[in-house]
C-alpha cells in the first residue's frame, strides 16, 4: 500500500472516548423492560448420583416465574461439540463441583436466590477422580459410562477416560537418543489459571411467542452461541438472533454457551425476558479455566548443542466433559514441538476426563503449559552440556523456509530477530548481580483462519459504515485495527469511518473474536468490502465530475480530481445523487489453511499453525534469598506480528499478555482439594497481579509480513501469554541455582527449596 495514511498510526480506538467517560454500555449495563432475574443451582459435590429433585416449594414461591431442571428438557439432550457428551443440566449424575442442575427465573435477584434454596435434591455422593493419571489408568472408573456411544468428530482417537490422544511422529527418536551425546529427561507441571475477565458473564434472553428468539450476550463467538441456542429451542439456526453487547474482557472465557441456552429456555417458559448473570464465586467455581498439565520431556542433544531428538508426553486434565480439550490437545502438540527443526520427534498429548470443571480455552490454550515444559527443559539441556541457553536456541531455531516438526514449511519467520532484540533489551550477555538471574523463552503460534464477513456502505448522509459480525472484546482488534484497515482501503481518515458490530440476523457470519484471528481475518473481509465500496464511489464520481476515476482521490469527506482539487464533490452530495441509493458492498474472507505432513499426525484437530507468529521473551528477576520473593526487574517481549496496524494497540496486547503470564508464573492457581472440591473461589484467595507486582514491560514489535492479513499482519492476541512462566522460571533458576518444575513458582516454594539446599541433611536417628 502506497502512502499509508492510517496504517501504523497510534490512532485512538473508536470506543476509547466512551469508555473513558463511563458511557460505554456493557452486557452488565444492558436491561430489558420487565426482565426477570435468572439464577443457577449448582452441584455441591464433585461426583454424585442424583436420586431425586423436588422443585415444588421453589415453584410456589411468590415471584418465581420459571423453574428448569433436566426433566423439562428433551430426554437425552446433549449439547453440540467435538464430542457430544455434555447435558445442559445434569439429570441422573453430577460430574463436577459446580455443575448446573437447575435454573430459576424470578422477579428479583433475591427471590431467585431464595428459590434455589427451596429446591431439594437428594444426592448419593461418589468418590471423584481427581488425578488425570489415575483416570487414564486401565480399570479406572469411567467419568462417562456411555462414552463409546457419544457422537464425536471423525479421526479423534479416544478411549474410556481419554477424550483425545493426539500424536506427532517424525524420524526415529529411539535411534537418535542412542547416538546423542547427552540425554536429559524431566517432568514439568502446571496448574489451572482463570481468565478473570473484569466483567462477569451475563446474558439477557427474550424468547416470546411470535417474535424472533433473541439473546443479548457478551460473547466472543455469536454464531456458535446461535447454534447452541437454536439446538435447545429446537428451531433452525438462522431464525435465532444473537446480539453481542459490549464486552468487559473475555480471554477465551466467553466463547462457549455457559448461560445463553439456559436464559433462552427460562425466558421461553416464563414468557418474559430473563437476565442470567454468573456471579464471580460461580465463575471461579465452574468456569472454563486453563487446563492443568503434567509433561514428561526427554531430549537428545549433541555436544555442539544440536537437538537430535525430542520426546514429550503431556497429560492434560480436561475436567468432566470433552469441551475444547481435543482441539487444545493438538495445539499443545505443536507447541511442544517448538519453533525448532528437531529431526526426530515423538509427542503424545492425552486429554483426560476427571471430576473437575470443564477446562477450556484461556488465551493461547495449551500454549503456556507446553512452552513452560519445553523451554524450561531446554535450559536444563543447556546446563547439562555447559552451553549458554541463548546459544542452544540459536543453534536449533526455525529459519525462513525450514520444515517444522509437523511437516509444514514456515515462512515470514522473524524469530531470530525477535531473539536478538529481546535478549539485547535485558543485556543478556552482561553478568547478573548476586540473587539476580536472566531467563528466556521462544515460541511460535497460529493465526486462526475460517470465515469472516463484512459490509461497507456509504449512507445517504455521506458517512461510511463498516459492519462486521463479531464483537470488540477489548483488544482493539475491531474498534482499532479493523477500522484503520477499512479507512486505509477507502482512502479516508479514520474519523470518517464508523465500525458497527451486527447481530446474527445480518448474516455477516464470522468465526469470532478469538484465536489471534480478528485483525487478519475480519480486517481482510473489511478491506475487501471497502476496496469495492471505494471503486463504487469513484465510479459514480467519475460520471459526476466527468473525470476518469483513476485521476480521482478521496479525502476529508470529498472526492476530487488529483490534478485540479477544486473539481470536487462531497460524499454527502454524491450519496444523495446516487441513482442506486445507499452504496454498499459485501465481502468474505476465507483463507487457505496451512499445509502439513498428514502422515506425521494422528487425532490432531488443529494440525498446523496458519501464518505463524514467532516470539521471544527475556526476563531478569531478583530473588530474595530469605523470603523467596521474586521481583521481575526487566521484561522484554519481542513479537513478530507481520505488520503493525497500530503500534499502541499491539504493545497493549503484548503487555497485557505478559501480565497474565506473570500471574501464571508466580501466583495464580485454581485450587482443588484431594476430594475434588474447589477451594479458592474469590479474588482474595485466587491471586491476580496488581500494578505493584509488575515491572514496566518492554514490548518489541518485529515485522516479517505474512501473505494473509491486510498489510502483512498476522496473529498477536494470544501469544504474549505463552512465555512468562518459562522465561521467569528460567530466570529464577539462574538466580538461585534451583530448578522449579511446577507452577506457580511461589515465594513459599522458593524459600523452602533454598532452605533445604542450605541445610545439611539431618543426621539419621538410630
Amino acid at each position: 500500500m502506497t502512502n499509508a495514511k492510517t496504517i501504523g498510526q497510534r490512532t485512538p480506538r473508536q470506543d476509547a472516548g466512551a469508555k473513558a467517560a463511563g458511557r460505554f454500555v456493557y452486557g452488565m449495563d444492558f436491561q430489558l423492560p420487565g426482565q426477570l432475574y435468572g439464577a443457577i443451582l449448582r452441584s455441591p459435590h464433585p461426583h454424585a448420583l442424583i436420586r431425586s429433585i423436588d422443585t415444588r416449594r421453589a415453584q410456589s414461591l411468590e415471584g418465581v416465574e420459571s423453574v428448569l431442571t433436566a426433566k423439562e428438557l428433551p430426554a437425552g439432550l446433549l449439547m453440540p461439540g467435538v464430542v457430544c457428551d455434555q447435558p445442559l443440566l445434569a439429570s441422573d449424575r453430577v460430574r463436577y463441583h459446580g455443575e448446573p442442575v437447575a435454573a430459576v427465573a424470578a422477579r428479583t435477584p433475591a427471590v431467585a436466590e431464595q428459590a434455589l434454596q427451596l429446591i431439594t435434591i437428594e444426592y448419593q455422593p461418589l468418590p471423584a477422580l481427581v488425578d488425570p493419571e489415575e483416570a487414564m489408568a486401565p480399570g479406572a472408573p469411567l467419568v462417562h459410562e456411555g462414552w463409546e456411544a457419544y457422537q464425536a468428530e471423525q479421526g479423534l482417537v479416544r478411549e474410556r477416560n481419554i477424550c483425545c490422544h493426539a500424536t506427532l511422529r517424525a524420524g526415529n527418536v529411539e535411534a537418535a537418543f542412542a547416538q546423542a551425546d547427552a540425554v536429559v529427561e524431566e517432568t514439568y507441571s502446571t496448574e489451572s489459571v482463570h481468565q478473570s475477565h473484569l466483567e462477569p458473564r451475563v446474558a439477557t434472553a427474550q424468547v416470546l411467542p411470535g417474535q424472533v428468539p433473541t439473546v443479548y450476550t457478551n460473547t466472543q463467538l455469536p454464531y456458535w452461541i446461535r447454534t447452541n441456542v437454536a439446538h435447545v429451542l429446537g428451531v433452525p439456526e438462522e431464525t435465532v438472533r444473537i446480539v453481542t453487547t459490549g464486552i468487559g474482557g473475555a480471554f477465551g472465557s466467553k466463547l462457549y454457551p455457559q448461560i445463553e441456552p439456559l436464559a433462552a429456555l427460562l425466558s421461553q417458559r416464563a414468557r418474559k425476558p430473563v437476565r442470567l448473570l454468573v456471579p464471580l464465586s460461580d465463575e471461579l467455581l465452574a468456569g472454563l479455566p486453563r487446563h492443568p498439565t503434567k509433561t514428561r520431556v526427554k531430549s537428545g542433544v549433541m555436544r555442539d548443542g544440536t537437538l537430535v531428538a525430542l520426546q514429550a508426553t503431556m497429560v492434560m486434565d480436561g475436567g468432566a466433559y470433552a469441551g475444547s480439550t481435543p482441539e487444545i490437545a493438538s495445539v499443545a502438540v505443536l507447541c511442544l514441538a517448538g519453533p525448532y527443526h528437531t529431526p526426530n520427534v515423538a509427542i503424545d498429548v492425552f486429554g483426560v476426563l476427571t471430576h473437575k470443571t470443564n477446562f477450556g480455552a484461556y488465551r493461547g490454550p495449551g500454549g503456556p503449559q507446553s512452552v513452560f515444559a519445553l523451554e524450561t527443559h531446554l535450559d536444563e539441556v543447556a546446563s547439562r552440556i555447559g552451553m549458554d541457553p541463548l546459544e542452544l536456541r540459536l543453534r536449533n531455531l526455525l529459519d525462513e523456509g525450514d520444515l517444522a516438526p509437523n511437516g509444514q514449511i514456515v515462512t515470514a519467520v522473524g524469530l531470530r530477530e525477535a531473539v536478538e532484540r529481546a535478549t539485547r533489551a535485558i543485556d543478556w550477555h552482561e553478568p547478573a548481580r548476586p540473587n539476580h538471574g536472566k531467563g528466556l523463552s521462544l515460541g511460535w503460534w497460529t493465526t486462526t483462519l475460517q470465515l469472516s464477513s463484512s459490509e461497507a456502505l456509504l449512507d445517504e448522509n455521506g458517512k461510511v459504515f463498516v459492519r462486521v459480525g463479531t464483537q470488540e472484546i477489548g483488544t482493539g482488534a475491531i474498534m482499532g485495527g479493523v477500522r484503520q484497515i477499512a479507512a486505509e482501503a477507502l482512502g479516508l481518515d479514520v474519523d470518517d469511518v464508523m465500525v458497527e458490530v451486527q447481530d446474527t440476523l445480518s448474516g455477516l457470519w464470522d468465526w469470532g473474536s478469538q484465536g489471534s484471528r480478528t485483525v487478519s481475518n475480519v480486517g481482510r473481509a473489511a478491506q475487501l468490502a471497502c476496496q469495492e465500496l471505494r471503486l463504487k464511489i469513484l465510479t459514480l464520481a467519475e460520471q459526476m465530475l466527468e473525470t476518469n476515476r483513476d485521476l480521482l482521490e478521496m479525502a476529508e469527506g470529498c472526492v476530487f480530481a488529483k490534478e485540479s482539487p477544486r473539481d470536487r464533490i462531497s460524499l454527502k452530495e454524491l450519496a444523495q445523487r446516487s441513482p442506486e441509493g445507499v452504496l454498499r458492498s459485501r465481502a468474505e474472507s476465507r483463507p487457505e489453511p496451512a499445509t502439513y505432513d498428514k502422515t506425521r499426525l494422528t487425532s490432531c484437530l488443529y494440525p498446523a499453525f496458519h501464518h505463524p507468529s514467532f516470539h521471544c521473551h527475556a526476563a531478569e528477576v531478583e530473588v530474595d534469598p530469605g523470603t523467596g520473593e521474586v521481583r521481575v526487574l526487566r521484561y522484554a517481549a519481542a513479537h513478530d506480528i507481520g505488520h503493525a496496524i497500530n503500534p499502541t494497540l499491539i504493545e497493549g496486547q503484548i503487555e497485557g499478555g505478559v501480565m497474565q503470564g506473570i500471574g501464571m508464573a508466580l501466583m495464580e492457581e485454581v485450587l482443588y482439594d484431594s476430594k475434588g472440591f474447589r477451594t479458592n473461589t474469590n479474588w482474595t484467595d485466587y491471586k491476580l497481579p496488581t500494578i505493584a507486582d509488575l515491572p514496566e514491560i518492554e514490548a518489541i514489535i518485529v515485522e516479517h509480513p505474512s501473505t494473509l492479513g491486510p498489510h502483512g499482519s498476522k496473529g498477536l492476541g494470544e501469544s504474549p501469554v505463552l512465555h512468562p512462566p518459562a522465561a521467569i522460571a528460567n530466570a529464577i533458576a539462574a538466580a538461585t541455582g534451583e530448578r522449579f518444575r511446577s507452577l506457580p513458582v511461589t515465594a513459599e516454594k522458593i524459600a523452602l527449596a533454598l532452605d533445604k539446599a542450605a541445610k545439611p541433611a539431618p543426621p539419621q536417628r538410630r
Binding site: D15, K19, P200, E651
Partner: protein, 157 residues
C-alpha cells in the same frame, strides 16, 4: 423496612427510600442509573466499583448507602461532567491505557484522587494509589504512563 437517605452525588442531592442493606454500588447503578460505576466481585478486591467519597477512593460495593451520607460522592459521570480531569481522561485514551475499559472508571477515579491531593506524585506514589484497582487487559504499563502524562508536576522515580 425502607429508610430514607440523602446522598450528594456529582453535586446533586438525591433523597431516596432504600433498603438498609443496599450498598452504595447498588444505589448508584440501580436507583440512580449511574451505570459508569462497574460491578463484579462485590467484596472489595477488583476496584471496578471505585467512586470518590469525601474526595477519597472507596469500593462502593463495600460501603452501605446509609453510611455514604454527609459527604460528596463523585462517580465517573461526575468526573466527566466536571471536566477538571479531562486531561487525565484524554491521556488514558491517547496512551492506550484502555482496552476492555471495564476497570477504567475505577482507575480514573483513583488517579484523579491522587492528583488532587498530590500534583507531583513519584512513580511509587502512583503505583501505591492504583494498587487497589485490578486491570486484566493492559499489564498496567500504559496506565502508569497515562497518569504520568496527566500529572501537572514532574514525576520523579
Amino acid at each position: 423496612m425502607p429508610i430514607t437517605i440523602s446522598l450528594d452525588v456529582n453535586g446533586k442531592t438525591h433523597v431516596l427510600d432504600i433498603q438498609p442493606q443496599e450498598t452504595l454500588l447498588q444505589v448508584l447503578r440501580e436507583r440512580l442509573g449511574l451505570m459508569g460505576t462497574k460491578a463484579n466481585c462485590e467484596e472489595g478486591e477488583c476496584g471496578a466499583c471505585t467512586v470518590l467519597f469525601d474526595n477519597k477512593p472507596v469500593n462502593s460495593c463495600l460501603l452501605l448507602a446509609v453510611r455514604a451520607q454527609g459527604s460528596p460522592i463523585v462517580t465517573i459521570e461526575g468526573l466527566t461532567e466536571d471536566g477538571r480531569h479531562a486531561a487525565l481522561q484524554a491521556a488514558f485514551v491517547q496512551e492506550g491505557a484502555i482496552q476492555c475499559g471495564y476497570c477504567t472508571p475505577g482507575f480514573l477515579l483513583s488517579s484523579a484522587a491522587l492528583l488532587d491531593r498530590n500534583p507531583a506524585p513519584t512513580q511509587d506514589e502512583i503505583i501505591f494509589a492504583l494498587s487497589g484497582n485490578i486491570c486484566r487487559c493492559t499489564g498496567y504499563t500504559k496506565i502508569v504512563r497515562a497518569v504520568k502524562k496527566a500529572t501537572p508536576g514532574v514525576v520523579s522515580e
